[in-house]
């Protein structure tokens, strides 16, 4: 009995030593010399491998950072400024403060749900449906509702809303841009979060002529240009029957929201719905209301016509 135990211990022990030697030699011989900084940078990254930076994953991003030894042209959207600062510290370089961004879905579902003209019965994929026809709403620019963006999101930040158009959870959204890339109709755009999370944007990408667009959707942008006229910052441009608000110039005064005849312009994060200002006491009613709320909740406040 003792002898058997002894043999087993010796055999296994010898095997262990031999394999350990082999492992050691192989590890030494095929050692990959790598900048330890890459590991450190990779450590501070979120590790979601979302691909929002344009690299294959977080490690590839870290390699790129270390290779050029700066953060020029490289930004980890999910990590935001905090991560950028940490990387900058590790690399010992300067960092530009970026503005926090969020994905915005530019399609207005309010009125097209019940005006459905067809029933899509094929593969649940926007990319495929886009090659078949306009989609259930009949709008050749509108949301197809199969959720390619939802599938693309690594952060559980975008979900199909009750009316078949996705809704972004601004708290979870890291602005990696995966959803915007996945959307075959380029409806999703990355815009700045705005002061106090308040944003104003044109919730439509329809470039058809006004009358044609109105036929399919009552909330379509008809390119009338009223918003551009009323904007005090000249932030709004109308091109190809479609108006666009430059978020870098927009001050979220919401004059365009009340001016828009179709309700295509949306305001998000405001405590009270926009009210068309009386001719003289402009903005008076909404300004004090806004001050009462300290942290505005990112809620969807829809404009009813």
């Amino acid at each position: 009995m003792t002898q058997q135990i002894l043999i087993a211990v010796l055999v296994l022990g010898a095997l262990g030593i031999i394999f350990a030697e082999v492992l050691y030699i192989v590890a030494q011989k095929f050692k990959v010399v790598e900048d330890p900084l890459i590991d450190e940078v990779a450590e501070v990254l979120p590790g979601a491998n979302c691909g929002g930076c344009g690299k294959a994953g977080c490690r590839a991003f870290a390699e790129a950072c270390v290779a050029q030894h700066s953060l020029d042209g490289l930004r980890c959207a999910p990590g935001g400024d905090a991560v950028a600062a940490k990387i900058a510290e590790l690399l010992g370089c300067a960092v530009e403060q970026g503005e926090p961004m969020v994905a915005v879905v530019r399609c207005n579902p309010a009125n097209c749900g019940d005006k459905r003209r067809s029933n899509y019965d094929g593969l649940r994929s926007c990319a495929f449906q886009n090659t078949v026809y306009t989609g259930e709403s009949g709008c050749p620019f509108g949301c197809l509702g199969c959720g390619d963006c939802v599938a693309a999101c690594q952060f559980d930040a975008i979900h199909m809303g009750p009316d078949g158009v996705p809704v972004v959870d601004a708290d979870k959204c890291t602005a990696c841009g995966a959803c915007a890339k996945a959307c075959p109709r380029r409806i999703i755009e990355l815009r700045n979060k705005g002061k106090k999370e308040r944003r104003v944007y044109v919730s439509c990408v329809n470039k058809e002529k006004g009358a044609v667009a109105m036929k399919t959707c009552a909330n379509a942008c008809i390119g009338c240009g009223k918003c551009a006229k009323v904007c005090p910052m000249e932030a709004i441009t109308v091109e190809g029957n479609l108006s666009y608000i430059d978020y870098k110039k927009c001050i979220a005064c919401r004059k365009c929201v009340t001016e828009c005849p179709t309700g295509a312009i949306k305001d998000v994060g405001f405590p009270a719905p926009a009210v068309k200002p009386a001719p003289k006491a402009a903005e008076a009613p909404s300004a004090p209301a806004a001050e009462k709320v300290e942290i505005p909740v990112a809620e969807k406040v829809e404009v009813k016509q």
């Binding site: 459905r116 003209r117 067809s118 029933n119 899509y120 019965d121 094929g122 593969l123 495929f128 078949v132 026809y133």
Partner: protein
Amino acid sequence: MNILNVSGSPHVHSDESTKKIMWRVNMALVPALLCAIAYFGLPALLVSLVSVASCVLFQWLIEKFIMKVPTSIGDGSAVVTGLLLAFNVPATAQMLWIVVIGALVAIGIGKMSFGGLGKNPFNPALVGRVFLLISFPVQMTTWPVAEGLFPMGFDVPTGATPLGAFKEGALGEGVTFMDAFLGHIGGSMGEVSAIAILLGACYLLWKKVISWHIPVAFIGTAFLFSGILWLIDPTAYMDPVMTILTGGIMLGACFMATDMVTSPMAKSGQLIFGFGCGLLTIIIRNWGSYPEGVSFAILIMNSVTPLLNRWFKPTRFAV
């Protein structure tokens, strides 16, 4: 105005469905079931009922409470598993509770843990059967012997299967080819009657649920290989006709190896699959510690199915 449906082409379907396929397999198992009841009486019926009921129940419970998906028991696949599991155990009263455990393993581990029908790498009924064989070796090898038709009562005489007897050194004396063909031999419920199984298999072939490749390759290989061995030494090895008629080769080749989910897709791959099954069965029977090797052979070949799918591609139209 009508709301029109829109989809990519094609706009028609052959009306073939998983449900239809599964219920056809169930139909094909009926002759063997009737034979089992005829030979082994009430226990056979009860074991089958318990097995099917518990398979369906376990699938429903797992889908409803663990996976939280819409239940799919209506597609008949759990019934197939239940029947095949019952066919693989001896028809004795003591199996009634053991087969429930088998059903839990077959459905729970064999099928649902991989994600349900279509995703299991191994034939669920065989997973259940092998689990039982290893866990309850005595009960699983206490074979009732059919004596006359429709025996009533539970104390059916037991005895060895021809394969078991052969393993013990008795060359299956007294068992004629006709006995084996019709099923007058000891064995598990579904495997005894070759004719009933062939009847079911013909129905499946006619309905195009299975193709001839796997059964023919399986039985053919077993026949050839055992024939070669028999020619070398007729005293040590069983004769080839008896080899394919006894034990689970018929049942395995026609119903278990042909399981769509766990067998290769391409016809060439199916031939290799059948060949492997036949070869392994004979190897296990002659040189393994168990008298029967069909279940193990099929499970081993199941495990190489993905590889066969990768290696054996259909012939392309033109390269």
